[in-house]
């Protein structure tokens, strides 16, 4: 039994099939990359896994439990955390309060939530800005806050959706560091990323999709050399 499995996931929006029978397994402790051109169905897959909407058909199996169709908050309680591609800061709350709100998913008292949040903020490198309103953060800070919030829910499996987009080179280095720190801490990660440098560097394995369908899976090196992948990103001329 795999640690986490997505089996023949399908999502149709009216006449459009956004995700078409995507299947993959994720091993415990790995960083599993999900790549594909814009509109290929990556975020839709995440949305089905995290309960934003149910799949049209197919299964999401976490451990011994099928979680497709469950509500987001329940999935969070089961140990699956996620960040959003378009960041969703709780704008009029401070950074620390954002993380405190997330911490309450695991503890109930104010003091426990606060100390847990402080540790998480420290871990994610947000301590210098913890008193600032989330809406005042620049994009790098907001992306980091997304991760910190998700981490505060103590996920065993973390879904990262394009956390590196919009970051400058030094911010990218810090982001990669943080992600590796999170994995070292024991969290399994599935990461969607467009920036090839990031995903090729940190992923153990990569799954590539295009037009909602699997086109390749393997180690970063294998996938990078794959004909279909090159075609999808660069067009047939480069294949």
């Amino acid at each position: 039994m795999a640690y986490f499995r997505v089996e023949k996931l399908v999502k149709k929006f009216g006449g459009l099939t956004a995700v078409n029978e995507v299947t993959f397994d994720v091993e415990k402790g790995e960083i599993f990359g999900l790549i594909g051109p814009n509109g290929s169905g990556k975020t839709t897959t995440f949305n089905m896994i995290s309960g934003v909407y149910p799949p049209t058909s197919g299964k999401v199996v976490y451990g011994d439990r099928e979680i497709q169709g469950m509500k987001s908050h329940r999935i969070c309680h089961l140990g699956v955390g996620r960040t959003f591609q378009v960041v969703k800061p709780l704008g009029r709350m401070t950074v620390l309060d954002n993380v405190i709100a997330a911490s309450f998913s695991r503890v109930n008292s104010m003091s426990e939530a606060r100390s847990h949040a402080l540790k998480t903020v420290e871990f994610c490198g947000l301590a210098p800005v913890q008193g600032i309103l989330a809406k005042s953060l620049p994009i790098a800070g907001r992306k980091r806050l997304e991760i910190a919030r998700a981490m505060a829910t103590r996920p065993d499996l973390l879904l990262l959706d394009e956390t590196a987009a919009g970051l400058n080179p030094s911010e990218l280095v810090e982001a990669i560091d943080l992600i590796q720190k999170i994995r070292a801490n024991g969290t399994t990660i599935i990461i969607i990323e467009h920036i090839m440098h990031v995903i090729m560097t940190i992923s153990d394995r990569i799954h590539a999709i295009n037009f909602g369908q699997t086109i390749a899976e393997g180690t970063p090196k294998e996938v990078a050399a794959n004909q279909a992948v090159i075609e999808a990103y660069l067009g047939t001329d480069y294949a």
Binding site: H73, F84, K88, P89, L90, M93, A102, S105
Partner: protein, 337 residues
Amino acid sequence: MKKNLYPLVLLAVLALLPLAVKSNYFLHLMILFLLWVVIGSSWNVLAGFTGQVSFGHAAFFGVGAYTAGLLFQHLQVSPWWGMALGGVVAVLIGLPFGAICFPLRGAYFALASLALGEGIRHVATIAENFTGGMMGIMIMPTFISKVPYYYISLALAVLSVVSIQLVIGAKPGYYFVSIREDQDAAASLGINTTLYKNVSLSISAFWTGMAGALYMNYMGFIDPHVVFSLHDYSVMAILVAIVGGVGTIYGPTVGAFIMVAFQEFFRTGFFGLFEYLGHKTGSSAVSVVGEAVQHAHVLGFGILVIVVILYLPNGVVGDWEKIKRNVFRISPAKEGV
């Protein structure tokens, strides 16, 4: 601790007030003020903190009032039991409403709540056999003096504000605000948004319902037109919270004071100024204007709504910095980040 100093001082003043002030008129105004502290603060829980703006809180107020009145009228039970049950019945009305209307986003939820208030008003008017229809309900007030009612109102106000403060400062408060800021993010953080919206609604309906029951006991007479009034209760509740400051604990208290004073200001023609001037100058024109001003308090309200929304959208407490800068010409010591 400093944060709690002002409210404690205020509480001490309010507790001792009837010893110093004997005027019934003034006590009446204070009771109104305290009722609005309760209604405004509870509206604020659902709207200011959780972001679900209700235009129909009169529904909860009126239902609380009618609970007290009907208990007496049909079951000959003391209407004071209405105080206990008024809040509960209001919650029982609120929950199905929430179940149906919470999926509506933004302004459409506001309109659905408006429909709730108006709908219950119509039902109360038509169901004559049960509610007495337009004849309303009349009961004999228990106390002749206003002082007991004052202290009961004060107790209700303190209970509501303190309990709301305790809730907001803990897990529910964080969850409410998260829902307000971004529902989808909140759900991904493990927040059962449906559950907490209903919790917020229940708290909000409960205290407003109790205020309604107290009103029944105090005034002795209610009818659908009065207690379910869109402008006098639903809109007024919004004004109290907005003028004072939504999303703050003590904003509605400040707002209640301002609004009750404002209303009285108009109703008495600037506290009798016009009448005085009319006598002094012997000019009838002044008296006519004064009379017009007295009738114009609703007009004044309308203008106040417009002005507050345009210039002080976060209320006196919320926009306090802005007020300090523009009205008192106090500049900030340094520009913040």
